[in-house]
Amino acid sequence: MSVEFCGLDLAHPIVNGSGTFDAIAAATTFGEDLLKDFPFSAYVSKTITLAPRIGNRAPRLWEAPAGLINSIGLPNKGVEHYLKEDLPLLGALSTCHGSEQRGSLWPVPLITNVMGSTAAELCALLDACDPHPQIAAFELNVSCPNVQTGLDIGADPAQLREVLSEVRSHTSKPLIVKLTPNTADVPSCALAAEEGGADAVSLINTLRAMALAPGARHAAPAARWLGGGTGGLSGPAIRHVALAQVAAVADRVTIPIVGMGGVQSADHASALLAVGASLVAVGTESFRDPLVGATIARSL
């Protein structure tokens, strides 16, 4: 079930959600063969920032009803380390899945996810990454507060359009905007991304969520459990929110959509494809079953 997405030729429509599968760590756990028979048809890197980030203090996880709240804080070693150390490995992934049509391995294109708190930071990230041929496309994480307004860049259509129009000229590679669900009007944000020059949108990111420390309701103010104060909810709990938002966005934009949110099976993936997604990303379910992406792709 090969698909074309923004000019990329993919073995199947199942990719990973950014930050839910670390190919390098997985190769040390399961062996290097994993990189040759990768479970996803394209690999979306975790979020890369200009400067290294150590991430949030522990605790970072809370198990919710049918889901997970995470407050990881986008730890990464910065763009310089990413390009020097990670790119040689991540730029050479392949998958056997679908190879019978071609008689050889399918390459697994690398989609690099980047985040900056200003347009200038995003431009600098694209400038650093764009010359590297191993990077096939970019995903912009716009769930980052604007340093002036405090509002997430991706939560405001006007701001998003403005940032996109500035960064667009810094790469000719496909640009995917990862939309935030934590805003009043997601379809308007998607339209703004399209008008700003995005080649595709991906959604949904995690829903902002919070957990109190056990026993905290008796204290004032109640102690928040997660080191970051709040976190993002993912997993089956958000599946139908994702379905509604993908359907609403598909009604407003003409660019392709990467749909995600609580996908555990081929049925769930098919539902997102049916309402207008071109690709489906699997995230939290990979934590429970690292091979689930390949299993879903086979059953579509």
Binding site: F30, P59, G215, R288
Partner: protein
């Protein structure tokens, strides 16, 4: 380090037996690779994982492999939350998903070295397979010191051979902490070649770390942290390392050299709601 097959596998429970306050779950794993001491697996019951008022557990649970023999893996469990409760209830013939063996194992002592195994509570588990491994590898001399809170829990000591026991309430063995026993051993003359292997609650591990650091005794600590995946994907099991930043318990550990940490803190917290219990 033993690599894990890149897929969770469905295994059948063969034995679920009581060991004082603990359960020992044995599962048939004839095709699985032989784990190394200190490695762990992510377990989830095939049915009944989820449901109930809280719809939990949802994520698999990380458990040390306590023993591996005759194609069976043994796990030591204490019922402290919805995940461990469900696993504790499993009957022979029921199936669970297992992913593993995962993580960095213990490194045996150098030739001529003596291993001091120090465990607290359910932290006894990885020391049992370590003792087996030391025995297999040409009878490496070792001593096991185990601490428990009360009489019911001290039954866990029978997982190892010839362990010296401490109990918080004095109901068995030394009345006090297992680290009292460790201090005595480290201060005795013949412990210059000792390598310490420890697993237990954070306060115990911190005490082990400090005792060994003061005496320049090498120590390997098996850490625990709530984790969602077990293979480096979620970045949830972060533990602060010496010099700043974090290490991931699942792929940088669970066994770490004590020098890598400045302090062993309580990252797990109480079991309610965390993906470890």
């Amino acid at each position: 380090m033993t690599l894990a097959p890149f897929a969770r596998r469905k295994l059948t429970v063969t034995v679920n037996e009581t060991l004082g306050a603990y359960r020992i779950l044995r599962v048939a794993d004839p095709q699985g690779p032989k784990p190394q001491a200190g490695q762990f697996a992510m377990l989830a019951a095939v049915t009944g994982w989820g449901g109930g008022e809280q719809q939990r557990p949802y994520l698999p649970r990380a458990l040390s492999i306590a023993r591996h023999s005759s194609g069976e893996s043994h796990f030591m469990l204490e019922d402290v939350g919805p995940g461990t409760h469900t696993l504790c209830q499993m009957a022979p013939g029921e199936e669970l998903w297992a992913l593993g063996p995962l993580g960095r194992p213990f490194t045996p002592p150098p030739p001529g070295g003596r291993a001091l195994l120090v465990g607290g509570g359910v932290g006894t588990a990885p020391l049992a397979i370590l003792q087996d491994q030391l025995q297999e590898e040409g009878a490496v001399p070792h001593l096991a010191l185990l601490g428990f809170r009360d009489l019911q829990h001290t039954h866990g000591a029978s997982l190892l051979r010839d362990a010296r026991v401490a109990s918080d309430d004095g109901s068995a063995g030394h009345h006090g902490l297992v680290t009292d026993l460790l201090r005595e051993e480290l201060d005795s003359e013949d412990e210059r070649s000792a390598v310490v292997y420890a697993c237990g609650p954070p306060a115990m591990l911190e005490s082990v770390r400090a005792l060994c650091s003061e005496r320049s005794t090498p120590a390997q600590l098996a850490l625990e942290a709530p984790m969602a995946c077990g293979f480096g994907a979620c970045f949830g099991c972060a533990v602060a390392k010496r010099g700043g930043g974090y290490l991931r318990v699942c792929v940088d550990g669970p066994v770490v050299d004590a020098h890598e940490l400045e302090f062993v803190g309580d990252h797990a917290g109480p079991p309610t709601g965390r993906p470890g219990a």
